[in-house]
């Protein structure tokens, strides 16, 4: 791995041509999934699919910072809710604004919050960043609760249009399609980071930050890139939420379930590569939905927490790690 240390110059997330076949494959998979959903023609399938893909996006976004650089972000709900409430506010200001535009705005806002939090706390030991993000979730919730324009503590209603634009059919199909698109973007970015000098820089920070700094890795800059990207993607994942739930209040928008799931899924799947969060989200998301239908909705939220604790103790490399060791 010695030659990798030379590749410390930051070249951004430009993967060159290498990432193109992977991205095309992702798009193909997304198209197949969507076509399958259309063929099933069940809105239940779309509602479930939306949640699972949302967790793929959230988990991968968390993993870009947590898994690649080793900095733990507990404030997922803060970024996620910033995205969701940007949509509420924008929808109220300009009701005709198309959803993709709101997603981009949400991503930019959440990314800026990530940059700010990172800038203030990332010079210190990693644990201070984690604590600050925990507190960030509480403070953003306080701000939203006191902000009457987006409903305050009472919550906000968003009318879901009956028919999806462009593709026809139910609106939830459009939401699912957008979420699939975000999934493709996030996964392509994550894999491109892994294969680029940026990813080697992140790994150097994770393995030994002092040594990385000493050998010329611009650690603060890389950490800020990771926090911004990670926060931005979480905000994007939250943007369609108001249209999905149609009623959003601070208690549900800041539910701890989002944070636990987004951390548990990469840890269960494996934090080393882009595949881990996908495996974790599909397995845990599927299991939760199964338990919600068969037992109760109270039990299904416990599952992610219990599995996460079990995995970090017994299988620190996650499912992907278990599989790799066997080969």
């Amino acid at each position: 791995m010695a030659s990798l240390a030379d590749k410390t110059a930051v070249s951004g997330a430009a993967p060159g041509l290498r990432g193109v076949p992977f991205t095309l494959a992702l798009i193909a998979v997304a198209v197949v999934i969507f076509a399958f959903g259309r063929w099933l023609d069940s809105s239940y399938a779309f509602f479930i699919g939306y949640v699972v893909v949302q967790y793929i996006v959230l988990g991968t976004a968390w993993n870009i910072l947590g898994g690649y650089t080793g900095y733990v972000n507990f404030g997922i709900t803060a970024f996620f809710a910033i995205g969701a409430y940007s949509t509420v506010a924008l929808h109220k200001l300009v009701p005709t604004l198309p959803l993709p535009v709101m997603i981009v705005v949400s991503g930019v806002l959440a990314g800026l919050v990530g940059l700010g939090t990172g800038y203030l706390t990332l010079r210190l030991r990693g644990v201070f960043f984690s604590i600050a993000t925990l507190a960030l979730a509480v403070v953003v919730q306080t701000l939203i609760t006191n902000w009457d324009f987006v409903g305050g503590a009472r919550g906000a209603y968003v009318l879901r249009p009956k028919v999806a634009p462009l593709i026809g059919g139910e609106y939830v199909q459009y939401l699912f399609l957008l979420m699939l698109g975000m999934g493709v973007i996030v996964l392509a970015t994550a894999r491109a980071i892994e294969r680029s000098s940026l990813g080697y820089g992140f790994a150097a920070i994770r393995d030994d930050e002092g040594a990385a700094e000493a050998s010329g890795v611009p650690t603060l800059k890389l950490k800020l890139i990771a926090t911004t990207l990670s926060g931005g993607f979480m905000g994007m994942a939250g943007a369609p939420l108001p249209f999905y739930v149609t009623y959003l209040d601070p208690a549900s928008g800041f539910s701890l379930n989002y944070a636990v799931n987004a951390i548990a899924m990469p840890l269960i799947g494996g934090t080393g590569s882009w595949l881990g969060p996908v495996v974790g989200a599909v397995l845990v998301g599927g299991l939760q939905e199964y338990l919600r239908v068969t037992i109760s909705s109270a039990v299904n939220v416990l599952v992610a927490g219990v599995l996460m604790v079990a995995f970090v103790i017994a299988a620190p490399q996650g499912i992907v790690g278990l599989f790799q060791r066997k080969r």
């Binding site: 203030l120 984690s130 925990l134 507190a135 509480v138 609760t145 006191n146 840890l267 109270a298 970090v312």
Partner: protein, 291 residues
Amino acid sequence: MAVSLDLLMNAVISGLLLGGFYAAVSVGVAISFGLLDVVNIAHPAFILLGSYVAFIGNTVFGIDPILAAAIMLPAFYLLGMALYQVYYVAFERRDDQSLRGLSFFFGVLFITEVTLVLIFGVDYRTVQAPYIGPSLNLGLFDLPLRLLVPFLVSMVMVVGLQLFLSRTFVGRAVQAVAQDQQALRLMAANPTKIKRIAFGLSIATASLAGACLIIIQPVEPSIGREYIGRIFAICVLGGLGSFPGMVIAAMTLGIAESLTATFFGPSWAPAVSFGILLVTLAVRPSGILGR
């Protein structure tokens, strides 16, 4: 402006009393995070567990909530020792504290909270005690006993722990672990054993702090999260591992929150601790009385 002065006076007094209680809430983390370097973000969940234990003791057995908490101290101590043992075997020994160790405590926090929701539901719970309700009127201001009793209990606990750490053999050993584990090992002492005792103590404080919490305000399982920001703001502002610094920081936060609640409305109070935490981390990460 007589009314305003009166208001200010009462806000400062109740802030001071509240701050004393915050010291009891934070003292467990001052031990685990400040002295042992174990970032136990699940501590508020154990405080809530303490609240519900006091609630059961009070409503089922009809005993005083603080007495119930005192009876349960050994159980919380053992729980803390067991938790540290798991943490040590799974993370500290593997030198994998940051990512997975933090996630472990986050998982423990979540599991405890959801379990409490499953058992007690999300309704607010209260306790009955003779000192909830009346207040001492001292002419200029009122001293609500509901705040005064937890304040006194908290101060006794914090001072007791400080004396334990500075005067007894085991207490000094805990401070030695905080300073240099390697040196302690060379003296043929087992740092793991001492850390287990200290972590047990830190969780034991959650029992009394929980009883104080349910005396001060009605409790439901998710309010523990509000305390995460407060606890760590206090510990960081006070300087990690310094008890006097922690008490000063707790009083400062109590007064700041009380003033905010009085003049801007109670719904803004949770944001105060985050502001203090962020400013401290950005300006003076070692706190006011840092080691």
